[in-house]
Amino acid sequence: MQPLLLRIDDRLLHGKVLIAWAVALRPARMVLASDAVANDPERRAIYAAITAEESEIAVLSLEDAVAALREPAAAHSLFVCGSPAEVRRLHAMGGEFTQVNLGGLHPGSEKRRLLPFVCLSRQDCDDLCALIAAGVEVEARELPGASRVRVQSSALEALWK
């Protein structure tokens, strides 16, 4: 089931998500889908302790996130992953979604800038192209009030030519 938003953001749950997106979409639940966080007791405890005004916060492994995406409650939930690779895995594991929001992906040594708020490695581009090839629509939008930028495979391939 397509959630309210499935976002790729390397800051995971943070101000823009907890405030700007939460005010715009009013999710009943915000799910941080990450094996790295779910399997790290310290990081899991920190993210699970975050409180939101109107939303429950959940930290789930990718496997549990796939199950959560099948539940009717997914339609009222916002999901966040930290990288295109995790979303590709989520999809390959049977996660049901047709749209992905590309939010904040910050610069790094092996990254090139696609948009002011989106920097991608070669692997990131491969993962996004695989999602697009599988029928997933990828849009880049940092904040809910901004205009949507449809991300095409051609632009991703050109970034690392």
């Binding site: 390397d10 800051r11 995971l12 749950l13 943070h14 101000g15 907890l18 405030i19 310290e42 990081r43 920190i46 993210y47 975050i50 409180t51 939101a52 930290g82 910050h106 610069p107 790094g108």
Partner: protein
């Protein structure tokens, strides 16, 4: 003597630091960290760098949004440091009070005081 680190979104920490210097006359006890252009790991690295060399008496990390990237990065930067405390909702009243009294109070007493001062400074003003 206590030290402080202000960790915020965009240029807020630097602006608060400048305001503390104007109001209290001395903001040297405070260093600033911005999350501008940083991934979660990079913000944490900046906070760790700011905490390195912290005084034995203790350090208070001031963050803006509870649950924001600065707060999460500060919590992750704590590690096993037991003389560092984190306060969210930083405002100028808290920072000025901290700058003026950081040599007079213990870490625990300062944390208790700043929580009170910070909340007390938020009020509806009426004539």
């Amino acid at each position: 003597m206590l030290a402080g680190v202000i960790v915020t979104h965009a240029g807020l920490a630097a602006a608060l630091h400048e305001a503390v210097a104007r109001v209290a006359g001395d903001a040297r006890a405070l260093v600033t960290v911005s999350n501008d252009g940083c991934s979660a790991d990079e913000i944490r690295a900046r906070v760790v760098a700011a905490l390195d060399g912290e005084p034995d008496d203790g350090t208070i990390v001031f963050v803006d949004l509870a649950g924001g990237s600065c707060a999460v990065a500060s919590l992750l930067a704590l590690g096993n440091r037991d003389r560092v405390r984190i306060l969210s909702g930083v405002n100028l009243a808290m920072l000025v009070d901290f700058a003026l009294r950081r040599s007079d109070l213990s870490l625990d007493a300062m944390v208790e005081r700043l929580l009170q001062r910070g909340k007390a400074s938020i009020q509806e003003l009426k004539v």
